[in-house]
């Protein structure tokens, strides 16, 4: 059942989803998704496995049909169209390259299905292969290529059709970390050059941070927060987002007057707290907390801590700090040669939680803890 209301729309929206609902048996995969994606945007769909992000992508591709809701692509109702009638292409997580075809045949498949032949076909295929730097492998079979090369073939096979929207379903998850990082950057450059709308599904928050202009963080079939990537990172709306996108220290306290919260760490100054006595949920990023042996004069929000554990990762140190009241704080410090780096386990320090870095979260309803993808 697809509702047929196609009302006024922003001409810049490439993709518009309204009230999307999808169930598999008893499992609700999508529970009312409203989403708009601009033309030429690199849009990240981020969430733990089972949150519905891949289902959402498959509904856009036409590989699943929504139980309810509207799917508009460039203002056209496509919810009822099967995959092969949609001007949308997908880069699959498994690549799904045709093993019995050469690279060139794989890339030319979509064009051939649309009746493109001969020299035009050959030229377009070669241009797409050159675009992803695998022109030299046109005559090879997919199994003769490395994982990264196969990934490029999958990308070329989708791009060559010049789709209205390109869907990418965790396309880099099968690659090793170094190659993945390299391809993330190349993917961004490619997207910017082509001006094509990319929708990128990932469970890897770092990948989303590197690639996406805007993201939607999903959880249990709903969108938890949507916005520009830096906004979502700097101002997470809920504890789930604060912990899923990057790391966070979560605190709870009772408001004790304007800009004052009584927490287990003591009274903290937090911006934007009204004079009331309500329960307040707070988050602070580990890299925003400052450490010092001596403490600071005249700075609020200083907490005495002891270094309980330390992980040296080269570029930064990750400290696990124990606060006097039995609470813990995670802090990361960049590896500089300043004196506020290189504390030892067992050392007693002062931690500074800058008021503007303490983010007030919306109280979220309790829900199952997020499961990480393998």
């Amino acid at each position: 059942m697809i509702s047929s209301a196609s009302t006024l729309r922003d001409p810049d929206w490439d993709v518009e989803l309204r009230g999307l609902y999808k169930r598999f048996g008893d499992f609700v995969a999508l529970d009312g998704i409203d989403l708009q994606i601009r033309r030429g945007e690199f849009f990240g769909l981020l969430g733990p496995s089972g949150c519905g992000k891949t289902t959402l992508l498959r509904i856009l591709a036409g590989l699943e049909m929504a139980d309810a809701g509207t799917v508009l692509i460039r203002g056209r109702q496509v919810g009822h169209l099967p995959a092969h009638k949609r001007n949308v292409n997908t880069v699959f997580q498994s690549y799904a390259l045709f093993p019995f075809m050469t690279v060139a045949e794989n890339v030319g498949f979509g064009l051939r299905m649309r009746g493109v032949q001969g020299e035009t076909l050959r030229k377009k295929v070669m241009a797409a292969l050159e675009l992803v730097e695998i022109g030299a492998f046109a005559g090879r079979k997919p199994h003769e290529l490395s994982g990264g090369q196969q990934q490029r073939v999958a990308l070329a096979r989708a791009l060559v059709n010049e789709p209205e929207v390109l869907l990418l379903d965790e396309p880099l998850s099968a690659l090793d970390a170094k190659l993945r990082k390299q391809l993330q950057v190349q993917l961004c450059e490619l997207q910017r050059r082509l001006g094509m709308t990319f929708i990128f599904v990932t469970h890897d928050q770092e990948e989303a941070l590197v690639t996406s202009d805007r993201v939607a963080v999903m959880r249990a079939g709903r969108i938890e927060q949507m916005g520009l990537i830096d906004e979502v990172y700097e101002r997470p709306a809920t504890a789930f987002v604060a912990e899923f996108l990057g790391a966070s220290n979560l605190l709870q306290g009772i408001a004790c007057g304007t800009d004052c919260v009584d927490t287990p760490l003591g009274l903290l100054k937090v911006l934007g707290i009204p004079a009331s006595h309500e329960l307040v949920h707070l988050a602070i990023r580990p890299e925003k907390i400052q450490l010092s042996r001596t403490g600071w004069d005249l700075l609020p929000n200083q907490v005495p801590v002891r270094v309980e554990n330390l992980i040296y990762t080269g570029a930064e140190n990750q400290y696990l700090l124990r606060v006097a009241q039995g609470q813990h704080l995670k802090v990361t410090a960049l590896n500089t040669d300043n004196e506020d780096f290189g504390f030892e386990i067992g050392e007693s320090l002062m931690a500074h939680l800058p008021p503007k870095s303490l983010i007030r979260l919306q109280p979220a309803p309790p829900s199952p803890s997020p499961m990480e993808d393998p």
Partner: protein, 341 residues
């Protein structure tokens, strides 16, 4: 817009092992070279084996089977070749002198002048084998997909049903077809009712009966390998094809069908070759007009008591079959028969 030159190309060097020659290549090549450097003879089957130890082990494990094949297949086969150059005595005994007469007779030269009879029978046998195989393919494809579409438990049941006929002897099953196609059976009555055959006659002997019996006999040999291939189909490829604008028929033809080719190749061999030499079914369900090469050979070793001529025919059929398989395997592109069967 895709034709614009990529700035990505200029900026980055490929790092995959088989990339363009570039700064990244040498490093990667070094990384994979140790794999090629291993001495493969030293570690086999996860153990350190000397060439001598390996030979001993092969003899122990493969010896009995090899001996069995030698004594019961290769030697009798060679004996057959020898027979084919000997003569038939007046009472059916095999005797000297050595002669090429048996082969000359197959070519059609007999005491009564030249006759193409054996050529015709050979051609007819090939045709019957081909038609039988074709119908088996047409019937087996939907069946294999049908079975594979079921949950595992039901699949086992359906596969068992396909195999059930094997539990009974072929001759008995063919007699059962004679009952089914007999004058009292409903197929014959139906045929009589629409005026196709006179009332109270059987539907055999006829080509229809022969083909019914042949396709019935060989269908499982096509279904089983095809099912194995269908079960292994990577359906994600079908989704990818749909995503790339292929409609249902194109998805089957271009993405699903190629994945079933290994099964089809086995099925063609498993059905085509035995169908070529079949004699039980045409013997019981067909008449003299449906005499196939298998029946002729059977006659030579049976009522005609002409072992040398039968041996010559057998040798010819075997040679022809091997030749066809060779040509087929070259065409299919596999190097060994192992890949086919």
């Amino acid at each position: 817009m895709l034709e614009a030159e990529s700035p990505v190309t200029e900026k980055t060097a490929p790092t995959e092992p088989s990339g363009n020659p570039g700064p990244g290549l040498q490093r990667s090549q070094r990384a994979i070279s140790p794999r090629g450097g291993w001495d493969r003879r030293q570690i086999r089957f996860g153990e350190m084996l000397t060439p001598l130890g390996e030979l001993g082990r092969s003899l122990i494990f493969a010896g009995p089977g090899v001996l069995w094949v030698m004594f019961f297949l290769v030697l009798p086969g060679l004996l057959l070749v020898v027979y084919s150059f000997l003569s038939r005595g007046d009472f059916g005994q095999i005797q000297l002198p050595l002669t090429l007469e048996n082969y000359v007779r197959i070519l059609g030269y007999g005491p009564l002048g030249w006759t193409p009879i054996y050529w015709q029978i050979l051609g007819r046998s090939l045709l019957v084998a081909a038609v039988t195989t074709l119908f088996c393919v047409l019937l087996a494809y939907p069946l294999a997909f049908f079975i594979a579409a079921h949950p595992p438990r039901q699949r086992d049941l359906l596969l068992t049903l396909v195999v059930v006929p094997f539990w009974t002897n072929l001759v008995i099953r063919t007699y059962a077809w004679m009952l089914v196609l007999g004058p009292e059976g409903w197929p014959a009555r139906l045929a009589a009712w629409i005026g196709w055959i006179p009332p109270q006659t059987a539907l055999y002997p006829s080509w229809l009966a022969v083909y019914l019996g042949m396709v019935y006999t060989f269908l499982p040999y096509m279904v089983l390998p095809l099912y194995t291939a269908v079960e292994r189909i990577d359906w994600r490829l079908a989704e990818a094809a749909r995503d790339l604008y292929a409609n249902g028929w194109q998805v089957f033809l271009r993405v699903l069908f190629p994945q079933t080719l290994p099964g089809l190749a086995s099925g063609l061999i498993l059905v085509g070759i035995p169908a070529f030499g079949m004699f039980v079914v045409p013997d019981l369900l067909g008449g003299s007009k449906t005499l196939l090469i298998g029946n002729v050979i059977q006659l030579q070793f049976g009522s005609s008591l002409d072992y040398p001529f039968g041996a010559a025919l057998s040798f010819l059929v075997t040679g022809l079959t091997l030749g066809l398989i060779y040509a087929y395997s070259r065409y299919v592109g596999t190097g060994s028969l192992e890949d086919l069967v």
